[in-house]
């Protein structure tokens, strides 16, 4: 496929036309995957022999944590695209993704706390993973606040994208700094591509479906929010033109 065709979607009109066709399918798929994955996970998997039924929160906790990080990565990519090629859709997509990513971070923190209470005996521990997620939440907060604070759209897009780049470096740095700062209580990664042992298969397959559901949900929400932003901006432009005329 010719990569140059990808930039066609940077045209807002083309973007809206395409998402008109794509969005319903993505939304339906997201709901389907979420329902199947969560129902399968909650009702048709056995209890863990040590954790009992609390293990089932994994079907919300792991996907949301995954998306919290990937949302920031997506913002990083779209910010770069904005800085290099100055496509407005790209900046708007970054703006649209931030609150979704922040909510995912909160969900991961909350479900982790709910699971930690019976299992670790505490709602919160200053474990590296927990701490870096809290810091990630603060980064989301600052990023969104900066978007909200600046009136001029292009200035806001420029400043937030640079903040996103700088923030990514410091977020990574913080991740390793907190590792150095305190010993971990959190278990290792539940799944990775290069590891022999993952979670047992009974938990693994519904988890994969749930993750697919969260990814699709994220894509659907970001597309929807980006469309809303594009239309809001177009409406502002039309209103301004009317006032002038």
């Amino acid at each position: 496929m010719n990569l140059n065709r990808l930039w066609e979607y940077a045209n807002p009109k083309k973007f809206i036309e395409t998402t008109d066709r794509v969005l319903p399918a993505v939304s339906v798929l997201a709901v389907l995957c979420l329902v199947v994955g969560l129902a399968w996970g909650f009702f048709f998997t056995p209890d863990d022999y040590r954790q009992g039924s609390t293990v089932k929160i994994i079907y919300i906790h792991v996907p949301s944590a995954l998306m919290a990080i990937n949302a920031w990565l997506m913002m990083l990519v779209t910010s770069l695209v904005w800085i290099v090629r100055r496509h407005h859709v790209s900046a708007l997509a970054a703006r649209a993704a931030a609150p979704v990513g922040m909510v995912m971070t909160v969900i991961a923190l909350l479900t982790g706390a709910i699971w930690g209470q019976p299992m670790w005996g505490t709602w919160w521990a200053w474990d590296p993973r927990l701490t870096s997620f809290l810091i990630l939440f603060l980064f989301y907060l600052g990023y969104i606040a900066l978007w909200e604070a600046i009136e001029n759209d292009d200035t806001a897009a420029d400043l937030t994208s640079i903040l996103c780049l700088v923030g990514s470096v410091f977020a990574l740095l913080s991740r390793y700094a907190v590792n150095f700062w305190n010993q971990g209580l959190h278990q290792g990664a539940s799944l990775s591509l290069d590891k022999e042992e993952n979670v047992a298969d009974v938990f693994y397959y519904p988890l994969l479906v749930a993750i697919a559901g969260f990814v699709l949900l994220f894509v659907a929400l970001v597309l929807l929010r980006t469309r809303t932003e594009i239309r809001a901006r177009r409406m502002r432009a039309l209103l301004a033109r009317e006032r002038m005329g």
Binding site: I135, L138, F139, L141, G142, A145, L146, A149, I150, T155, D158, L159, I162, L163, L165, V166, G167, F170, A171, L173, S174, A177, V178, F180, W181
Partner: protein
């Protein structure tokens, strides 16, 4: 560059420049801590490195909006932007001036404040060293934050929200180094990390600050 540095220093020293405000704030924080946690010497000694680092960080934060806001208001920032001096140099000088008027006095005053918090004597050298190495990074990162929010009417709170997460790594390694020093442990790893963060931010962050400032001056 030197002229700009001298100008900034002179402005900060003179009346209304706020020189010494950071120090006074630092003193107040250190005074308030024993009221909050109780006057036991042992407890104070354990938390002294963290308190001193936090106090220095907050005092630094307090004076950040002064770095660029005044120059923005009276238009001298526009003049600097059209001057032959590159923007990167301008923000570097601004950060240096901020460190000389805020960071350095804090470092120099730390031994006295350490005394107030009954810091063990072997903790002084690593604490001073960590602050000396770490506070330049605080000034440089703070200049980036100040450049981000310079055009905003009420940027103060937003500035803290943006800058504090960026301070996390510096604070972790700096305070860890001071803590290890107090406990008599080897502190070369956090020392290298603090030094690395400071060198990295001094080398790279002015480019981001200058880019942001150019956007804001557009």
């Amino acid at each position: 560059m030197i002229a700009l540095l001298l100008r900034d220093l002179r402005l900060a020293m003179r009346a209304g420049g706020g020189f010494g405000l950071g120090l006074a704030f630092f003193l107040i924080v250190v005074t308030l801590v024993p009221f909050g946690v109780g006057p036991q010497g042992g407890l104070l000694a354990t938390i002294a490195p963290g308190i001193l680092w936090l106090g220095a960080l907050l005092a630094c934060l307090l004076s950040l909006d002064r770095i660029l806001a005044l120059d923005w208001e009276d238009g001298s920032l526009d003049l600097l932007a059209t001057a032959p001096l590159p923007m990167e140099a301008v923000v570097s000088v601004k950060a240096l001036a901020h460190w000389l008027t805020t960071g350095l006095p804090l470092v120099l005053a730390t031994p006295v404040f350490g005394l107030l918090l009954s810091l063990p004597s072997k903790g002084y050298a690593p604490l001073l060293l960590s602050l000396l190495l770490g506070t330049p990074a605080l000034s440089v990162i703070g200049t980036f934050g100040a450049a981000l929010t310079v055009g905003l009417k009420r940027g103060g709170l937003l500035l803290s929200l943006l800058v504090l997460p960026l301070y996390v790594p510096t604070l972790i390694f700096g305070a860890e180094m001071a803590r290890r020093g107090v406990d008599g442990l080897d502190y070369s790893t956090p020392l290298l990390m603090v030094a690395g963060i400071t060198c990295g931010t001094i080398a790279l962050l002015p480019f981001a600050s200058a880019a942001v400032l150019r956007v804001n001056l557009r």
